[in-house]
């Protein structure tokens, strides 16, 4: 898989997660966060188990261990995020979440002694400037407990990105994704049962709910994790976080096209958010597109045309 291919695969995962909000709106209020995670991952696990049943003969200890570890890391990410978001404003949470763009290169430097190339450093600077411009920065909006939870979320997500990159190269991507989703489904089911015993049986499963659950499980879990594991096997972890940083840009575009699903254009669109989105997009282009190669090709093409 070439770099542009792995980038496109990771980009599609980001698109899935950014657009999930459209479908989450169809879920009932009485469904808690743990209930949502348990049902999503449970349905996704069943879908993947049916589709890839024949692949299970290649299951081994390493695959299971790595899948479980990744699943637990992702559960930690979601738990920290839940606690952090409850205690912080949306913009503060967004700024802290985007710090993984600094943590991942640091982890790569510490564990693999790999320095990020200059263009990635420039890209990171642009993206951080974009995130701050989009959300605004005020120190009052960062209470200690909430900030610590969000930093925990950020560190776990960065670890997940780096570790997934390592495991995806060794293990079967499909089995890794399936094990991960099964682990998340079991963990979420336990937490849901502790929080609201018996709720799974009391929930009113209307066709609208079933429809939203099915689409969310299929796209944001089954599809997204399989694709992420394939993409991570070939993409550099820093490239992955740079692509994921595009999420606010996608949300803004979706808000323009489907305003009803994202709370109206006005809520998501202002000069500062637009400026932030442009900075993030420029950062992503600098980080991911080989501009020099394009210029060389273009010049080559022009010279060929002249001769």
């Amino acid at each position: 898989m070439k770099k542009h291919e792995s980038n496109l695969v990771v980009l599609s995962v980001m698109l899935c997660w950014a657009s999930a909000y459209v479908f989450i709106k169809g879920l009932p209020q009485e469904l808690s966060d743990f209930g949502y995670l348990a049902l999503m991952n449970g349905i996704a696990a069943v879908i993947l188990a049916v589709i890839f049943a024949r692949r299970f003969r290649y299951l081994n200890k390493s695959n299971i261990k790595h899948g479980v570890l990744l699943g637990l890391l992702m559960m930690l990410v979601l738990l920290f995020e839940k606690e952090g978001v409850d205690r912080l404003t949306a913009s503060s949470a967004s700024i802290l979440t985007s710090l993984d763009i600094l943590i991942v290169p640091t982890l790569m430097l510490v564990f693999y002694r790999r320095r990020p190339p200059k263009k990635q450093v420039v890209a990171i600077a642009f993206i951080l400037a974009g995130v701050i411009s989009t959300n605004g920065l005020s120190l009052k909006d960062f209470p200690i407990v909430g900030t610590l939870f969000m930093l925990g979320d950020c560190v776990c997500m960065s670890l997940y990105t780096v570790v997934a990159n390592k495991y995806c190269k060794k293990d079967d991507a499909i089995l890794l994704a399936v094990n991960q989703i099964v682990t998340m489904a079991i963990a979420a089911m336990i937490l849901w049962t502790v929080e609201e015993p018996g709720m799974i049986f009391r929930l009113n499963y209307t066709p609208a709910l079933a429809s939203s659950l099915f689409v969310l499980a299929l796209f944001t879990k089954a599809y997204a994790y399989i694709m992420l594991m394939f993409g991570q096997a070939y993409a550099d972890p820093v490239d992955v976080v740079i692509i994921f940083a595009l999420e606010p840009v996608v949300t803004m575009i979706l808000a323009v096209f489907i305003p009803s699903a994202f709370g109206g254009v006005e809520e998501n669109f202002s000069i500062t958010t637009l400026l932030g989105a442009i900075l993030i997009a420029i950062g992503a282009v600098i980080g991911e597109v080989d501009i020099k190669r394009f210029i060389r090709r273009f010049r080559g093409g022009v010279e060929c045309a002249k001769t």
Binding site: M1, L8, V9, L15, V22, S211, V215, M227, F230, A233
Partner: protein
Amino acid sequence: MQRLETKKSSQVLVILLAFLIHGIGIYFNVMVLVEGFTEVRPVNAVPVPAGLFFGPVAGIACAFGNLLADCFGQLAPSSVVGFIGNFLAAYLPFKLWYLYTDEEPNVHRLKNLFIYVWVTFIAAIAVACMIGSLLWTAFGVWTDSLTLYIFMNDFCFPLFFGLPVFIVLTSPTINIVCVKPVKSIIRLPDRIKRICVIVYAVVLTVIFFLTHFGVENMKGIMWILYLPAAVLTLILTL
């Protein structure tokens, strides 16, 4: 790495999968855009990659998948239009791919990526115009926004979700083997065929834009509505 051979069994499995995903996915429609005709359909990501891999067989699978979905509540004589549209959504990309390259479908090179986007665009606009005009000429149904929604579903989902699946299936880990191109009925140089395709795309784009942003009474101009069908027949024989 083992290459996924197109043995009958694996081919049938993948086609069955496309058929089931398509059928089940449409039944679980999430956001109805035009009541009784179309909704936000993420499953429209399936036909383009399936068509590129398995050609006409995938087209038939997607068409029957759509018919199966219609059986759960929306079955009507107009379902024939959906059947044709879904067949074309898978078959047209396959037919057009080999006009631009001799390689098996893949996007390892940027040139092939542009071909994927181009054939997806042609298929999407062809299906949108075909369904719009057929529904009006055969069943008297006209909805201004219908063609736009069909185009968006058939263009955006194969790009954002179909393309990544396509990349994974053509990656060294899986490396699926595609069916061979079918022989053309009309023997013309490829360059002329490509020009025909560009002309077809331009004509359809003009019709598409006129329908939405220009002429209000498009349904009165019958020859424009028959044009997509006539030119499409020509394209299919190329």
